[in-house]
């Protein structure tokens, strides 16, 4: 049981590398080709990756300390938040999504609600002023159509 992580990761790498090799085989070849071509290098690298993964499975290291289930859950929440943030930044502008996501991340690190909300708001407004007015980056503050 104690060496499971390395073995699972090794297995995952082998699967990904096999898919990678399979799709490298499908690469379209142009008529003007060089002796090596587009396929050889990706296939070679993926093969070396498979060798490394096999070594990892055969000689795994000590198990790392994984966080407990509740922490894994809050890491997953923050991943989902960041994915949402990626989609929201363009349509919703900078200030609102940043305030929400920064507060949520802050709360996940140290669960103090008041501090989290204040840091979220402060970061959102402070960074907006810094980026927009001092560094002159092309950021949009609010959704289009508000304050026009």
């Amino acid at each position: 049981m104690s060496h499971l992580s390395d073995r699972i990761f090794g297995l995952a790498v082998i699967l990904v590398a096999l898919v990678y090799i399979a799709s490298a085989m499908q690469i379209q070849v142009s008529f003007l080709s060089d002796p090596v071509g587009s396929k050889a290098f990706p296939i070679g690298v993926a093969s070396v990756a498979i060798i490394c993964a096999v070594v990892m499975i055969l000689r795994p290291d000590e198990e790392p300390e994984w966080p407990e289930l509740w922490t894994v859950f809050s890491i997953i929440i923050s991943i989902v938040l960041l994915i949402g943030y990626s989609y929201a930044l363009k349509p919703l502008g900078f200030i609102i999504p940043t305030a929400i996501v920064a507060s949520a991340l802050s709360y996940q690190i140290t669960p103090k609600p008041k501090f989290a909300v204040l840091s979220g708001l402060g970061l959102s407004l402070g960074l907006f002023v810094l980026f927009k007015f001092i560094l002159d980056l092309g950021l949009i503050g609010f959704p289009k159509g508000w304050f026009v």
Partner: protein
């Protein structure tokens, strides 16, 4: 006399008020970034790159700004090592061994000043070494053809894991992951898409800035969520900062020896600053012997790794500028800076863009003096930075990373990739798989494949061509030895672990 003429060219560029101002700003930001617990030079510079490019600075100005940030972060890293026992990155680990005990003994101010001087000596001597050695090496590099370059990249990848990783298979796997990601996009020879899975967003390939920011900066937030922002170490207050001249003078030979050794460790491809600070600490420890009291908080134990670490950082610029092969995580990030600025490092850089090389060297020298001035009298200002709570700092770092990438590419897809790389970085670091080779793979993958294919075009597909010259054969043998040696050396050289409270 060549060097003097070149230097005056460099200073002509670097001493303009505008560039000077950028250098000062860069040093200031860099020291803050380096001092922040959990942020080291690599991730510090990583978040700053996209922002700098969005500012629309020209090549020399951007380079001056980012290298000052890089040097500043190297200086700043020692603050969190000494006061909090939290090294910002791998090379700073050695500074905690004597710096933290010294701070606990109430001599935090002395430790900061001594390490500041040691950093200055190390970085200054290394910059001079860089001026002497780099032009020589760039002359040798003219004899490099595709086969030699391919062998050189091989050497870089096989030695990079080396000392810093505990498991060669994992280090090699990390390089492969990077190279596999680099292959995504349009094939450079045929112009046809590869490995994109039909996703149009991937036709341009994966931008290494996205990977750097994800792997270095965003993965950090998951670690902080895991630890709930609790750091085991308690911060130590700095009361009065005086300059302990006598003690600094007593470490003069330590600083000189460590600078020389650190510089050469930095020049070796793949070794970098970790090896520099490790070797210098061990060397000084054995010279001082049992009576030296290394590990209990002595001045030499602080001076040696800081001089070695900063000298190695300068030394690592030699292969990076002359051959385009970075030796460490931070030089990999700097290479990313150059590539993004459309500057191709290599021997041609010295003849075609001398203003870039010598402007960079001159600004390194200037940055060094600025940093000494900032870090000794003003060290108390930077110490205040340490009290920023992680619950404010980490969301801030994440948001800055996202905005940097977003304002550079304007694409939500790249932000999704940043998140993906953040998760990948978390898993890799949990499994003790180094992330620097992944970056290097993404950065150098195209070049490595191109050189191999060019070599095969030249030889009409004869594989023996890779061994046709002495240089390439030597490099390939060195890369095999460099890959195998750590497996045996690791039993003899055991790395000292961080001191615990």
């Amino acid at each position: 006399m060549d060097i003097l003429a070149n230097l005056s060219l460099g200073f002509g560029i670097a001493l303009s008020p505008y560039t000077l101002m950028l250098a000062v700003i860069g040093c200031f930001i860099g020291t803050i970034v380096g001092a922040l617990p959990g942020l080291g030079p690599s991730n510090g510079v990583a978040i700053m790159i996209p922002l700098t490019f969005s500012l629309g600075l020209d090549a020399v100005a951007a380079l001056v700004l980012l290298t000052s940030i890089y040097y500043g972060a190297m200086y700043g890293g020692r603050i969190s090592s000494i006061l909090l026992n939290i090294p910002g990155d791998e090379p700073a680990l050695m500074t905690t061994l004597d710096g933290y005990p010294m701070a606990k003994a109430g001599r935090a101010g002395d430790a900061l000043v001594i390490s500041g001087f040691a950093s200055f000596i190390g970085a200054f001597l290394a910059t001079i070494g860089l001026m002497v050695l780099a032009p020589l090496l760039s002359r040798v590099a003219y004899q490099f053809g595709p086969a030699e370059y391919f062998a050189l990249y091989l050497l870089a990848f096989s030695t990079l894991g080396g000392i810093s990783s505990n498991n060669q298979a994992k280090a090699a796997l990390a390089s492969c992951i990077g190279l596999m990601i680099a292959m995504i996009g349009l094939d450079p020879n045929s112009g046809l898409p590869r490995m994109t899975g039909g996703n149009l967003h991937l036709y341009d390939g994966v931008d290494f800035l996205v990977a750097i920011v994800g792997l270095f900066a965003v993965s950090e937030i998951f670690f902080f969520i895991e630890s709930h922002g609790k750091s085991s170490a308690v911060g130590i207050k700095v009361d009065k900062v005086t300059v302990p001249w006598a003690e600094i003078w007593s470490t003069r030979w330590t600083m000189l020896r460590s600078s020389a050794l650190g510089f050469f460790a930095g020049v070796l491809p793949g070794a970098g600053a970790s090896l520099g600070s490790f070797m210098t600490y061990m060397m000084e420890k054995s010279i001082a012997g049992e009576k030296g009291g290394f590990g209990t908080g002595v001045a030499k134990g602080v001076a040696a790794p800081e001089a070695g670490n900063n000298a190695a950082a300068g030394g690592a610029l030699v292969p990076m500028l002359t051959l385009g092969v970075p030796g460490s995580g931070t030089t990999a990030v700097l290479l990313a800076v150059l590539v993004t600025l459309n500057i191709t490092p290599g021997p041609m850089l010295f003849t075609e863009r001398p203003e870039v090389v010598w402007g960079l060297i001159a600004s390194l020298l200037i940055a060094n003096f600025v940093l000494l001035a900032m870090n000794v009298p003003m060290v108390k200002i930077f110490v205040k930075i340490l009290s920023v709570p992680p619950a404010l700092l980490l969301p801030g770092v994440t948001m800055v990373s996202f905005v940097g990438i977003y304002s550079l590419t304007g694409s939500y897809f790249d932000l999704l990739l940043v998140v993906a790389f953040g998760v990948l970085g978390y898993v890799l670091r949990k499994l003790d798989i180094p992330t620097v080779p992944v970056i290097l793979g993404i950065l150098l993958g195209h070049q490595m494949e191109k050189q191999l294919r060019d070599a095969m075009v030249l030889s009409d597909g004869e594989w023996q061509y890779l061994f046709s010259s002495g240089i390439s054969t030597g490099l390939i043998i060195a890369s095999i030895l460099g890959f195998l040696a750590p497996i045996f050396l690791r039993r003899i050289l055991t790395k000292p672990q961080a001191v615990s409270d």
